[in-house]
Amino acid sequence: MEAYLKIKVRFFALYRERAGMAESVHTIPAGSSLHHLITLIRQRHPNLAPSETAIVAAVNTEYAQDDTILYDGDVVALIPPVSGGNRD
């Protein structure tokens, strides 16, 4: 088993503008969780979102919880709030 994982991170919309990039690659220890990856991303991009605001992410096109364990080659997409539109 590899000691490190290569994770592709994709930024969209507001996150893409704030990060200044559409994607990046992160190398993290095997067994890392999504929460760990997002913590690293926040450190690298402190302006991404206020610390009290959760960052929603999808792993391999599925919405994922913070405790999701990541695997080599996973694609993590940071999903800013989706256009709500007004119902009224």
Partner: protein, 146 residues
């Protein structure tokens, strides 16, 4: 028909694609782009999507609909990229033997799209721009050049 496109939406063939003689009703939703938002004039909009996940989520919504109602045909086409005021951003057309299901299902699809599908809308004004739905992230950018 499930599609995300950069092309101008021609909604008539989309509606026609669900009109069949097994169905007594076709209900259509067109999402159009308003001239004003938050009391200000919108110059144009930008739509962006995480396309593979958006297509997946649209197909999941279709599955939710067919599990809940007797809906025979569904077409969903969302446009992304640069949109001008009055352009159609989204067309949803559903059909069923009777009208009640189509009215309910069409509204449900539109609500679910806005809850769960990774497509984002940016409104561009004269003095700045906003990604709709991102107020919790403290976002309203004032443009320095225009």
């Amino acid at each position: 028909m499930i599609e995300i496109t950069r092309n101008i939406i021609d909604h008539i063939p989309i509606i026609e694609s669900v009109r069949k003689n097994t169905n007594g009703a076709v209900v259509t939703f067109l999402g159009t782009t308003r001239l004003t938002s938050q009391g200000k004039k919108v110059l144009y909009l930008e739509y962006e999507s995480y396309k593979p996940m958006a297509i997946k989520k649209l197909n999941e919504i279709v599955g939710e609909v067919t599990a809940k109602w007797d809906i025979r045909d569904i077409a969903i086409v969302h446009r992304i990229g640069h949109l001008n005021i009055s352009d159609v951003s989204l067309t949803v057309a559903v059909s069923s033997p009777h009208r009640k299901e189509s009215f309910e299902a069409c509204g449900y699809i539109v609500d679910r799209i806005k809850e769960t599908v990774p497509i984002w809308k940016k409104e561009v004004f004269e003095d700045g721009e906003t990604w709709v739905g991102c107020q919790s992230l403290g976002h309203y950018q004032v443009s320095t050049k225009r």
